[in-house]
């Protein structure tokens, strides 16, 4: 699910790699993890979804809930390297308008 996380204190950004599947089964754990990171250090988020194969509406709900918290301190969540069929879900649900979705490779 969350493969890797690191905070870059220069840019004030959490870099997170997502992996495998995020679904109704592990979404609660994913939510817990994101909220912990937000509490440890408020910052922007960059989610690298290169390894993500599946996300369902409960996973999207977790992202929305995280975004709400991040917006409270004026942060943003960028989503990178989504596979096309996952990008489609963000578009269908209109979430491509509230997250910053970056196509292609934007490594730091």
């Amino acid at each position: 699910m969350v493969l890797d996380e690191r905070f870059d204190s220069v840019t004030g950004t959490w870099y997170i790699s997502l992996d495998g599947e995020i679904d109704i089964y592990n979404a609660p754990e994913f939510k817990e993890r994101l909220h912990q990171l937000i509490q440890r250090q408020s910052g922007n988020f960059v989610l690298d979804c290169r390894g993500l194969n599946y996300i369902d509406s409960t996973g999207l709900g977790v992202l929305i809930s995280a975004l709400r918290r991040v917006k409270e301190y004026g942060g943003e969540i960028k989503i990178q390297n989504l596979k096309p069929y996952l990008k489609k879900i963000f578009v269908i649900t209109g979430l491509d308008k509230i997250f910053t979705i970056e196509v292609g490779n934007h490594e730091q």
Binding site: D23, I24, D56, T58, G61, T93
Partner: protein, 130 residues
């Protein structure tokens, strides 16, 4: 000839939704949907199940019935067994809206069977080669 039926029954618990996804993918593969369509069907079945599980009152079992015709798959997802107040649900209307958007876009037709404000079953179908 009548259509072939495949039915899968699982406990209505989050850990078993993955099994319904893989079975759906296998069924869709067998009747010849392409990779993108298989992904759509897999996702739609999962979202239908999430909608039924994530209600104030939810069943303890789920039945997924695939009906296979030469150019069409229809899937009925229905709650079964005891319907009881739910301890795992987020009862989240925003959540249900997300599922609804996904279902509507992935499948060619979606029907909700609602009784007393609770979704009892979701029936949907997708045409091959559209």
């Amino acid at each position: 000839m009548s259509s072939d039926l495949i039915t899968l029954s699982v406990p209505a618990k989050p850990e078993y939704v993955m099994i319904t996804r893989l079975t759906s993918a296998a069924v869709a593969t067998r009747i010849g949907f392409d990779v993108d369509q298989i992904e759509d069907i897999k996702m739609a079945v999962a979202e239908a199940i999430i909608m039924i599980i994530n209600q104030l009152i939810s069943p303890d079992k789920l039945l997924v019935i695939f009906s296979l015709e030469p150019k069409l798959i229809s899937v009925k997802i229905l709650g079964e067994g005891n319907w009881d107040s739910n301890d795992i649900s987020t009862h989240d209307l925003g959540q249900a809206q997300l599922s609804k958007y996904i279902l509507g876009s992935m499948m060619d037709k979606v029907e909700y069977q609602i009784d007393n404000g609770t979704i009892q079953a979701i029936l949907m179908h997708k045409n091959l080669g559209v």
